[in-house]
Amino acid sequence: MTATGAPPMVLAEGVHKRFGRLEVLKGIDLEVDRGEVMCIIGPSGSGKSTFLRCINHLEQINAGRLSVDGTLVGYRQRGDKLLELRESEVASQRIGVGMVFQHFNLFPHMTALGNLVEAPLRVKKEPKREVVDRARALLERVGLAEKADAYPSQLSGGQQQRVAIARALSMRPKLMLFDEPTSALDPELVGEVLDVMRGLAEDGMTMVVVTHEMGFAREVGDELVFMDGGVVVEAGPPREVLAAPQHERTRSFLSKVL
């Protein structure tokens, strides 16, 4: 994957994040290549969601370097000085990064189609007809073509999350972040969301997925990262990590969730 010489999609070097005195990330070094699916697992409070939110600058990092597609996140480098980006520059950086949240966060006052066309129309200012056609195609792709005019409150949790994925895709991102996308769903609805994500991975989308779905991580993930206490404890091919964890902490976590 590195033969082209292009920078990795995500490059984290010594990323630190503090909330007041609480240090949540204590030096994260990770690399996500183009087309790779990286799954991050770990106990709650391990910092995995925080790291994901740092990638699109929903949280500002305190130390280290974090770049997406070769561009620093949230800062501009001039000499050896870092300058904070303006709000509009941060916003345009986020266009290339789609995010899916645990609680969907669909806009409840808009229909499913309205959720999908909002950002392409208002942010990218693309022509309406093109945006609507693409949005309908995306809804079809997640199996919800007939729900275009439904409001989120009229959809099941699984349907809402599929709309949320389609909404993120409507901006044609080069990277997709998933923050525990199935954790708020009834067990029988998890499969339909994972199917959509599996399809995305097969199409070559670069994905970082914070999840508790070990089956998904094993089958779809190219890399599995186990985080605990704000550090990466162990990383490697999912089958190896899950079958033969090298660290005691990984072993005890996996014994609880598998």
Binding site: E87, R94, L106, P108, A119, V123
Partner: protein, 313 residues
């Protein structure tokens, strides 16, 4: 030849009988109806047969040209002051929630002053503005002036009344709007930001439309309260509104009660129109919050008169 066990219901079995129970009686309701009917009859009798109400005068002056013009002035004051008050209130609410400490403390000081003093006092103050500032100039601050006006010609009593009412209203609206904005979960702003929307866009397209559900009911309260607060503009002194007009006529007739009733009927009529507007506005912004909107009173009536068409929908 053995037949499989039957699983489908046998056709010869009749469906279970509908329950036809004796409905529960509510004797308390009948007692309440009787008591209230007697009290109501006493009240109506007292109002109708008491000559001091001078119902003939009420009838003669209810649709008087002067009262109608007064009602129009009151309505103009209400709409203008409310419109400006809501606009400034939104600005103040966004300022108060701003991370910029100068903006948020400025908004706080505004609220402190305008909520902390009686609106009557504020109206008197705006009436006296031409005493404080005889001329108003447009120019560079502390520098040369390009144009200058007599305050009295620019800020008439009507303008002073609108300014006074709307500046006071803005302080209350700011808190209502702030409550509305805070009621929208942070996940909404985050999702919008993650899509690349800027803060102003997030506010206008995502947060405020959802905040409206919380903002509208208390704003309806404020609107109706504003309608009645306009009767205080006599402090400016503006004397063309509904209350002052009715007062003026009654002083000439030496009959204070019937003209008060006329004014009250007009206030009540305008309030009723405003409440209807609020009902439909609330329905509009309830979109997406309920799976199906409840029928409007008109739809309910239609469904009752033409039940078939109602069910077909």
């Amino acid at each position: 030849m053995a037949s499989p066990p039957r699983t489908e219901p046998r056709p010869d079995v009749t469906p279970p009988e509908e329950i036809k129970a004796v409905p529960l009686r509510h004797p308390g309701r009948w007692v309440a109806v009787a008591v209230l009917a007697v009290l109501g009859a006493m009240l109506v009798n007292g109002v109708v047969n008491n000559p001091a109400y001078r119902w003939d005068t009420v009838g003669r002056y209810l649709f008087d040209q002067r009262l109608f013009r007064g009602a129009l002035v009151t309505l103009e004051l209400t709409v203008l002051a409310m419109f400006l008050g809501v606009f400034l209130g939104i600005v103040l609410a966004v300022m108060r929630l701003s991370p910029n400490p100068i903006l948020s403390s400025t908004a706080w000081i505004y609220l402190w002053i305008f909520r902390g003093t009686p609106v009557y006092t504020q109206l008197v103050f705006w009436g006296l503005i031409s005493v404080l500032y005889p001329t108003i100039g447009i120019g560079i601050p502390f520098g040369p002036e390009f144009a200058s006006f007599e305050t009295q010609t620019v800020i008439t009593f009507f303008v002073a009344a609108v300014i006074g009412l709307s500046l006071n209203e803005a302080a209350y609206m700011a808190e209502i709007v702030r409550a509305g904005i805070l009621s929208v979960s942070e996940g909404q702003s985050e999702a919008a930001a993650a899509l690349g929307m800027k803060r102003a866009q997030v506010m206008r397209r995502i947060v405020l439309p959802q905040a409206m559900r919380v903002i509208i009911p208390p704003t309806g309260n404020e609107l109706i309260s504003m309608l009645k607060t306009t009767s205080l503009v006599v402090a400016v002194p503006l004397t063309t509104d509904l209350y002052s007009t009715s007062r003026e006529i009654s002083l000439r007739l030496f009959q204070p009660v019937p003209l008060l009733i006329c004014a009250a009927i007009w206030y009540l009529a305008i309030t009723s129109v405003l409440m209807t507007g609020q009902y439909y506005l609330e329905r509009r912004f309830a979109r997406g919050s309920q799976r199906a909107l409840p029928p409007t009173p008109l739809q309910k009536l239609r469904n009752r008169v033409f039940p078939a068409s109602g069910e077909a929908r």
